[in-house]
């Protein structure tokens, strides 16, 4: 499952590790970290988005709490909206994992499925990727990011018919 955890940390070095270490220990996978504004003089709010096995989530949160960190908010990120787009171009040469990372690191959207047809040498390749996001607005935002990346990398994006009225 994917979790968005908002913690309040003292504004001094090393504090974030108190959150990241236990996540790593329980086999979690950090997707994104967003440092927010200062709350008070001495503390800051940090959003951590991570992926974790469902049966370990409770234990992990307990451990973070017991280390004295204030948890402001926890919620599961459900990726309920999705869209599939086709990419045609030099997808592999232009670093496909970077393309995917830049979507995944938003925290609100990720590439959940991908079919790639391997190209002949120096020919364009094709991928059909599915992006999932927490809601429609975020999906549209993720799609905008993808369009921009593909423009930079000169990859053609074939979007689906939009089924809404």
């Amino acid at each position: 499952m994917k979790i968005n955890l908002v913690v309040e940390l003292e504004d001094k070095p090393g504090q974030l590790l108190k959150v990241l270490t236990p996540i790593a220990k329980y086999g979690g996978n950090i997707i994104g970290i967003i440092h927010n504004r200062k709350v008070q003089q001495k503390s800051v709010l940090v959003d951590v988005v991570f992926e974790i096995a469902e049966d370990r989530a409770d234990k992990l949160l307990e451990e973070i709490k017991s280390s004295g960190i204030t948890i402001r908010n926890v919620n599961e990120i459900k990726l309920s909206e999705k869209i599939s787009v086709l990419l045609v171009g030099h997808i592999i040469h232009t670093d496909i994992s970077d393309t995917i990372n830049r979507i995944d690191s938003t925290g609100f959207a990720e590439v959940t499925e991908m079919d790639i047809s391997m190209p002949e040498l120096n020919k364009p390749s094709t991928a059909l990727i599915t992006i999932s996001a927490v809601n429609k607005e975020k999906l549209e935002e993720a799609l905008k990011i993808l369009r921009k990346i593909c423009e930079e990398k000169k990859i053609k994006v074939v979007e689906p018919l939009n089924e809404e009225a």
């Binding site: 086709l86 045609v88 790639i116 190209p119 094709t126 991928a127 059909l128 979007e159 018919l161 009225a165």
Partner: protein, 330 residues
């Protein structure tokens, strides 16, 4: 007696002449007696009480007509009631059709056209001219050939709140893409076959770059969604970069790829993923449109987007629409 002038005597102009001959009784039942008083191409003409049969065979045999009055002289001076404008499309200047149509409308003559150029360049101006001079402008044939769309939306879907219109408006592109889907052959190979078969023009760029579809989309946007937009407002992508692998990957996941022209919030012409079971997934040179309305839901039309008699038939339907004596309410 309704007096007709035909300007432009190529594929479509000749198609109109053939239908006026072949469907004379049916048409006259609806609109009363008519006759053709002038036909002109780019360099010759025939005027008077025109014998269409003779004009057609003359044009076919000699490539020209017997008289020397120019098209412009006819448009300016002759006493016709309705002008059939079938000259070549130019989406940048609209000419020569734009001048023909403006001149006729200023004289209070009805105009029926298959030429997209004038409508793309000056839709609003032409509508105002028609209104001011109490005459009509029929342009069903400019979009989707025989596929009914303009009058369908204007008349039959009146009051339903048109939200978006999208569709396949270029038969050449659809032919190429549907063959790529089925046969997985490279774009270039199918294109050159299409040129050989006469499905694509020798210079296909107008079609495959999406320009033709964009021109039609501008007409749809202005005429049916009151958008007041220009050709430059359309985001245009063509089909040239698509590969057989793109179809392979798409089909595996239940999609095909079609060149879709869409007007809603924005105007765009681009290849899109279309679910294999979607009504817009049509094959060959057909055209299709989906009209998305507030109160009537979705309406689909499919038909032949081009062709001599198909395009002419759309112009004949405009003629009947303008002069119909019959009350369709009973």
């Amino acid at each position: 007696m309704i007096k007709i002038a035909i300007i432009g005597f190529g594929t479509v102009g000749q198609g109109v002449a053939e239908l006026l001959l072949r469907k004379k009784n049916e048409i006259e039942e609806r609109i009363g007696k008519f006759k053709v008083i002038a036909v002109a191409d780019s360099k010759s003409s025939v005027v008077g009480d025109v014998d269409l049969e003779k004009a057609l065979s003359e044009k076919k045999k000699r490539g020209r007509l017997s008289g020397n009055k120019t098209a412009m002289e006819i448009v300016e001076d002759f006493e016709y009631d309705v002008l059939f404008e079938c000259t070549p499309t130019n989406v940048e200047s609209g000419e020569p059709g734009l001048t023909h149509i403006k001149t006729a409308l200023k004289r209070g003559k009805n105009v029926i056209t298959s030429n997209k150029g004038p409508l793309v360049v000056a839709y609003n101006e032409l509508c105002k001219l028609a209104e001011k001079n109490s005459c009509k402008l029929g342009f069903e044939a400019t979009v989707g050939g025989a596929m009914p769309l303009i009058k369908l939306v204007k008349n039959d879907l009146a009051g339903s709140g048109i939200l978006r219109i999208r569709g396949i408006l270029n038969g050449t592109c659809n032919y190429i893409l549907s063959r790529m889907e089925v046969e997985r052959m490279p774009y270039e190979q199918i294109l050159s076959e299409a040129i050989e078969l006469g499905i694509a023009e020798a210079d296909p760029s107008y079609d495959v770059k999406g320009i033709d579809a964009a021109a039609k989309l501008v007409i749809i946007a202005n005429a049916l969604l009151e958008k007041n937009v220009r050709f430059e407002d359309v985001h245009i992508e063509g089909i040239e970069d698509l590969t057989p692998e793109a179809f392979e990957v798409a089909v595996k996941r239940g999609y095909t790829i079609r060149l879709i022209a869409e007007v809603g919030e924005t105007l765009r012409v681009s290849p899109r993923l279309v679910p294999l079971n979607h009504p817009l997934n049509i094959y060959g040179t057909l055209n299709a449109a989906e009209i998305i309305t507030e109160t009537a839901g979705r309406v689909f039309v499919i038909g032949r987007g081009a062709g001599k008699l198909e395009t002419a038939s759309a112009m004949i339907s405009d003629l009947i629409d303008i002069y119909d004596r019959r009350d369709l309410r009973c």
